[in-house]
């Protein structure tokens, strides 16, 4: 998949091509593994909140309010890998 392929898909409103790319990215070329990685990240995001501990909402809201969408999207990708690494199930061959 080329970058132009992804841009064309975004312009055409074709989310399936885009999410497939994301799954391949997260799954190191294995789409099904990538799908599981996305689920894993959400599970890991849920776990620390089950006991409703205090969280820094001011930081969160300030970050969302003051940062540009690209930086926030980049942070979202970082958080995915942070959460799957935190799970202890690391499917990737390399290091962040």
């Amino acid at each position: 998949m080329s970058l132009q392929y992804l841009k064309d898909a975004a312009a055409a409103g074709d989310p399936e091509k885009l999410i497939r790319y994301v799954r391949l990215h997260f799954g190191d070329g294995n789409e099904e593994a990538g799908r599981r990685e996305i689920d894993k990240a959400w599970v890991e995001a849920l776990k620390p909140l089950l006991d409703v501990p205090p969280t820094d909402r001011e930081f969160i809201l300030e970050t969302i309010r003051t940062r540009d969408p690209a930086t926030l999207a980049h942070l979202f990708f970082h958080l995915h890998f942070y959460l799957v690494q935190r799970s202890g199930e690391w499917i990737h061959d390399g290091n962040l």
Binding site: L3, D28, L96
Partner: protein, 172 residues
């Protein structure tokens, strides 16, 4: 392998080793991003290897400890590079890259980034010397035009400024 121009004027033109290289790549990886019709000439060695200063370029994601880690999470890639001083010890370096198995390289960095071996070749006189730095980046980049226009050009410029005669490029 050289060709002289038909009229015998100007410097000899160096032949391209595999004119169909990009076609081969695209056959193997359908829908891949490579579409390049430019002439890519072979570069003949201008002097003996033992007199050549060598630059090493690696896509292994090797970098000095403490430097900004390569962006391994970005979905479109990281188009930056790192300078690795050729005097570095392997324990002063680390790898940031998700897309290839790094376990063996973490045990012995030389399997992917042969800094000790190249220093030995320089010490033994097999090659004339090394540039002050080696150059690294990560090989997961979805925008080949940006890769060529920025990263490749920047590294080529930096290597030229360090007086390299030859470059060894090793994909990870």
């Amino acid at each position: 392998m050289t060709e002289t121009s038909d009229r015998g004027e100007g410097p000899p033109r160096v032949a391209q080793l595999r004119p169909g290289l990009w076609d081969t790549v695209n056959e193997r990886y359908p829908g891949s991003m490579i579409d390049k019709a430019d002439f890519v000439p072979l570069a003949p060695l201008r002097k003996p290897l033992s007199e050549c200063r060598l630059a090493f370029v690696s896509t292994s994601g090797t970098q000095p400890r403490g430097s900004l880690p390569f962006d391994t999470v970005h979905p479109v890639g990281d188009y930056s590079f790192r300078r690795v001083p050729t005097t570095s010890r392997t324990d002063e370096l680390e790898i940031h890259q998700l897309k290839y198995p790094t376990a063996s390289a973490n045990r012995d960095l030389n399997v992917i980034f042969p800094i000790d071996r190249l220093r030995e070749l320089a010490d033994e006189g097999v090659i004339g010397g090394l540039t002050e730095n080696f150059y690294t980046f990560i090989g997961y980049n979805m925008d080949p035009e940006r890769l060529e226009r920025t990263l490749a050009e920047d590294i080529a410029t930096a290597i030229s400024e360090e007086g390299a005669d030859i470059a060894l490029a090793a994909p990870a």
